[in-house]
Each structure stands twice: as structure tokens, then as C-alpha cells.
Symmetry: C2
Subunit: 379 residues, 2 copies
């Protein structure tokens, strides 16, 4: 598997440049700051109907439209669209590629300002809070003083929590979904496996693979494979594939024998065509660093004290990457801060990925939560 | 990380050669068949006190003594020894390196009979039943007609089940621990990640790395890292490491930041010094192939019908690699076969690895079970 760098013609992402740049938690400044984004629906005259959607680790701003690289539907077309929970006939939906991403926002795959090539591993370490700061610049640029809601799952949910904690006056409603206030040791460990696979691929070339166009496809593919297992559940894998064979006639260890294997390999090989390895390193690190309580002296509730934001916390029963226990911890912290919070655990065997899938109970809860918030502010 | 092949002087493992070889499930014949083994304690005059211990994926025959390569204690010194549950003052304990292993039994790391180098990936695919067939040859060679007990955890437990199903008259008592009657789709998926990492390492060289001595250390290390996570539990990782930092002063993604990362990397780098990558491919495949029911028309109970063997099935509450539900399925099948079975689930947060660790309740259950079996046959 040798993969060339994707298009010679870079995609023309819709984006805004902030020439003054952004100061990061690590002390570095990224200047100019590029934020690539997409919007759906129409901002009302009062500028009060904006919903910011935050994407997960390997997501991007193409929420509710065909993806320009893969040609596949947007990653949340089950949730964002006309008459859907995040109703684009009613709300103005914004989604930005995260800082450190590889779909047009400032990140390792973008050119360095000094013209010496791409950022690569010279791109500074970013945090979830840095991502949120970049989004805030975009939101202000769009003339929006207050968001009706910030919504996201997984790493998107981390951003939601950080938004509500850092800019409480800008967030009417917040829906952190399938997420946690910190990344667990087990999740850090799985990320580290992926990073070790990328670092171990000689085509990674110390991060300078963009110089000769050979990308660390094998390493990145292994990283995706192991991560993908954590997005599903044992039951979902059992139901989808069980022990079904691919019709291999002989006992062999050199080829895929079980359907689950070729499925995983397919996940790996398609991923490397759309995602940048250095971005993967940067963003997994940002998730690992995330610890909302540690930023506030160990007290998560302190992050939300006095908040007027309304919260919907949602988890999925078979999610073992961000188990329900971690959502309950969010709820406890919000309760301790006397915040307005409702909580729903969705019964499903689809694992972490359920937040992206057809889950009617979740969709009704999210839709109702947003309508309530909208009515409250007269949208 | 460049690793040389281990010792220029191969270890002189205690072993027996069967010149007529062994016919495998895949149709190939391995001839001669080498079975490397260790014994502890003394075989009594009636030859009725033999306990066969079956090792797990990366274990070997050095159960209760210093390991000749690593210098570390044997892998089950908590269980096998004087006055321990598998009491070497009372029982004659045998453990053989599995077929396909890399500690002296026939496998990819051994020379090919035709003198053309090592087996490497030319070593045929083996099954758990093939491993058991090889062990049976050893047991007969030692003059033992009937084993007092066969005991093992994880892949060792698969061998225990296969022993009881294939040679019921040779097994007085069987203790399958932290295991299952088949390998789940999720477990196959994790194995496939490891294999993809090995295959993707250019130093694997299509399996012929023994020719130039450069071993696929990075790929094998990644395989070990991901497997190691599955041997623990989220709670155990959280308790052992949590989010403790290694004292890294800056936000970085190029080095280990969290203690759990350097722990995992250490697990990977020490593993490659003692284990053969092609063996890892062979043995993980054998586990994936294991499906005791499928071999008997889908009916696991049929594997045990009419058995006189006494069973102890044991599971560990936080084991998510071989969850208690899978042990309960073994018990159900044994009950349906009207077998004599007792079952214990040990409450622990140590995950799958608990079967190797200090778990007094488990040790008392296993010790009592073996004493009961011994008294039954007058040992």
C-alpha cells in the first residue's frame, strides 16, 4: 500500500483568515489563523438562531453535504438538515474544521507562513481550548454575539464543555454528547498505539513526508483500525460480522480470513486518503491533554459555577470509549454548579458511533432540547 | 528502535522430537515434530498425578522458574509451586511450548527440515486442536495415560476445552479460565490490528526477516501495545497511571507525555526481545480460528456429551477480552451436556490479566478443585 499525497490541486475550502493569529496554550502563536467552515440555513435578523456544531477527531466541517474528498454524505446528515433535530430551516448551523485539522483550518497540513513548506510536526501542540478559541474568532467574524447552542459528540463534546466553561455568556444551550471532562488512561493508551504506528512507519519520515509525497499510509491505517474498534461495541461487531469468513479456502495468516478483518482494513485504507497523519498526531494529543477539572484546580464544577447555560448531556449504553459513567460525572459537576441540566442515556448496542447513527430516541431528545432553548430566547 | 535477532547461541530448550511428525488440520504435516517442555514435581508410581498447564498467546513452558531469556520469574509462579494451588509437592506439572510458538517447539522460528533456513511464514497454519494434538504426543511420551487435570487461562483455556472435547478419557479434571468457546469478532479485530502492524513494518520483509537479522520490532511492538491494553481494564489503567504526566515540561506530541504511554512502549519494546513476529502471526490466527461449536455442527454441548471430566470454569468480572458472559456460555454448554461443572466469577478490577495475578479467591477455588479431583482418583 503506497499512497500518494491527495490532490495536487488543493481543495478550495471556504475559510476566513485572521492575520493577527491566535495565541495558544503552549505559548506559540499561529499567525495568520485560518478557520475553514461551512454553514447551513440562514442567520435571522436578530442573529439569535446560530447553532455551532463541533466535530469529532476525524470529522470536519462538511456536516450536512457531500464530502468534497470522499463523495460520501456529510457525517451528521441524520441530525442536521430540514426538519431534523438540528433543523436547518430554523437554525443557522455553523461547523468549523478544528485548529490542527487537515481540511483548511490552520494545521500541520497547511503551508507555513514563512514559505518553507508545510507545517508538519513544526505545527505547535494545540488544546481543546485552543480549538474553541479559534471557533470563537469565526463566530465573532460572522457577527454572532451569542450562540443559541453548541452541540457535539466525542471530541466535539469536549469542545462543547470547553465553550460552556470558557465563554458561558455566549452559549444559551450546550449539548455535550458521548464525551467526558477528561480523557481516560485507557483512551490515552489507545491513542498512543495509533501514534506509535504512525511514528514507526518509515514513510512518516519524522513528519516531513510532504517533501517527497510518500505518506505513512500503513501506520495511519493501523491507527485508524484500532481506533475504529473502540468506536463500535463487541455486540455491534458480533452482529455485523460475527465469525463470518470471506470464503478463504485454506487456513492462512497472510490474508484476511474473517469479514471483520477486511472491513477494518477497508476502514484503514480509505481513511489514509482523506486524513493527514500529522493532524492525527496533533488532534489525538489535544484530546489526551483535555482535563476540564485540572484547568480549574481539580474542580470540574468550578468550570460551570454561575452558568446560565442549559445543558443536555447524552450517553449511549454500549459506548465503552466514553462510558455513561463519564457522562454522569458531567451531570454531577453541573448539578454541583446548580446548572440547568437534563441527562439521557440511550439504550443501544452500537457503541460510541451511535451518536452518528440513526438513534430516534436521541434525536427526539436533542431536537426537543434545541426547540426549548429556541423558544426561551424567542427564535 | 532497531533490534537484532536474539541470541547467536540458540537456547537449549528441553524438548522431544517425534520423527514421524504431526498431521495438522490444514492438511500439512510438520515432521519432525518438536515439543519443548518443562516439568515440575515428581510423577508418582501410578502416573496419576500429572497436571498439564496450557499457556496463553505470549506465554511459554517456563511456568514456575526464571525465564531463560528475560531473567524474570515464571509466568504463573503465583499458582504453580510448593503449597500453591497447583502444588508441585503433590502434582507432576507439565507445560509445553505450543505448536507454532518460539521457545523450542516446532514453529516459524525453528529451522526447516530441508535445511533451507527457518520456517518463517512457510510454517503451516495451526489450530488450537493441533496444539493439543502435539501436547498429547508429549504426554504419551512421558508415559502418562490420563491427566489428573488440564488447566489454563485465555488461549490456555481454549486448549483446556479442546483437550476435554477431543480426549475426554484422558482428562480427569479441566479448568478453563478466562476463556471462551470461540474467539469474538472484537477479539479477531484487535488481533488483526496487530497483524497489520507487523505486516506493515518493512523489516518484516514478507516474513523472511531472519535472513538479515533485522526484525520487525516496530510492528511487533505496536501489536503488543494494543494487545496489552486489552489485557487490562479501564479501572486498572486509571488506578495504575490515571493521567499522571512524566514531567514533560511542554505540550508535545513527539514524546511520551503520560506515564501510561511510556508503560505501554516499555511493554512493546521488551516483548520484541523475547518473541518471534511470525509466531505471533501464527498463534493469533490459531486463536481466531478457534470455534469449538463450529467444529461440532454449531453445538458446543455436543463437544462434551457423555463426558466424565469434572470442570471448573472461572472468569474475572472486569475481563472485557473474555467477559464473564462467555464463561457462562461454557457453563451452559456443559450443563446441557450433563457434565459436572462448577463456576466462579472473581470480583476484581484487574481485567483479563487477573488470571496471572494475586487473586486469593481464584487461587482457593482452583486449589480446592484440584484437591477434590486428586482425592477422587486416589492421589
Amino acid at each position: 500500500m503506497t499512497e500518494a499525497l491527495a490532490p495536487a490541486q488543493p481543495l478550495a475550502h471556504q475559510r476566513v483568515l485572521f492575520e493577527d493569529g491566535l495565541a495558544l496554550d503552549c505559548g506559540a502563536v499561529v499567525a495568520p489563523l485560518a478557520v475553514a467552515y461551512r454553514t447551513y440555513g440562514t442567520l435571522n435578523a436578530a442573529r439569535s438562531n446560530a447553532v455551532l456544531v463541533c466535530h469529532a477527531l476525524t470529522g470536519d466541517q462538511y456536516v450536512a453535504e457531500r464530502h468534497p474528498l470522499t463523495g460520501k454524505p456529510g457525517w451528521w446528515e441524520a441530525v442536521v438538515g430540514p426538519s431534523l433535530p438540528i433543523d436547518t430551516t430554523r437554525y443557522f448551523v455553523i461547523c468549523a474544521n478544528v485548529l490542527g485539522g487537515c481540511m483548511g483550518s490552520s494545521g500541520p497540513a497547511e503551508p507555513k507562513p514563512d514559505g518553507s513548506g508545510l507545517w508538519g510536526t513544526d505545527f505547535p501542540s494545540v488544546t481543546i481550548r485552543d480549538m474553541v478559541r479559534a471557533q470563537k474568532r469565526l463566530v465573532e467574524h460572522l457577527g454572532i454575539e451569542r450562540l443559541l447552542a453548541v452541540v457535539g459528540g466525542s471530541m466535539g463534546g469536549m469542545q462543547v464543555l470547553e465553550w460552556a466553561a470558557t465563554y458561558p455568556d455566549m452559549v444559551v444551550a450546550a449539548a455535550p454528547i458521548a464525551t467526558a471532562t477528561y480523557h481516560s488512561a485507557q483512551n490515552i493508551a489507545f491513542h498512543e498505539v495509533g501514534r506509535a504506528a504512525i511514528h514507526g512507519d518509515p514513510d512518516w519520515q519524522g513528519g516531513r513526508y510532504w517533501e517527497d509525497g510518500r505518506i505513512p499510509a500503513k501506520g495511519l491505517s493501523v491507527a485508524r483500525m484500532v481506533a475504529h474498534i473502540t468506536y463500535l461495541s463487541e455486540q455491534a461487531l458480533g452482529r455485523k460480522f460475527g465469525r463470518r469468513l470471506r470464503g478463504a479456502s485454506a487456513l492462512t495468516f497472510l490474508e484476511d480470513v474473517f469479514e471483520v478483518e477486511s472491513y477494518l482494513r477497508h476502514q484503514g485504507s480509505t481513511f489514509v486518503r482523506r486524513f493527514d497523519a500529522n493532524s492525527y498526531l496533533t488532534i489525538t494529543r489535544a484530546m489526551d491533554f483535555f482535563d476540564l477539572g485540572a484547568e480549574r484546580g481539580g474542580d470540574v464544577a468550578a468550570a460551570f459555577r454561575g452558568t446560565q447555560t442549559r445543558f443536555l448531556v447524552a450517553s449511549f449504553s454500549s459506548d465503552w470509549l466514553f462510558p455513561t459513567a463519564e457522562s454522569r460525572a458531567i451531570v454531577r459537576a453541573l448539578n454541583a454548579a446548580a446548572a440547568n441540566v437534563s441527562f439521557v442515556e440511550i439504550a443501544t448496542d452500537k457503541g460510541h458511533d451511535a451518536f452518528l447513527l440513526d438513534e430516534p430516541v436521541f434525536h427526539r431528545a436533542l431536537g426537543g432540547f434545541l426547540r426549548g432553548a429556541a423558544e426561551r430566547v424567542g427564535v
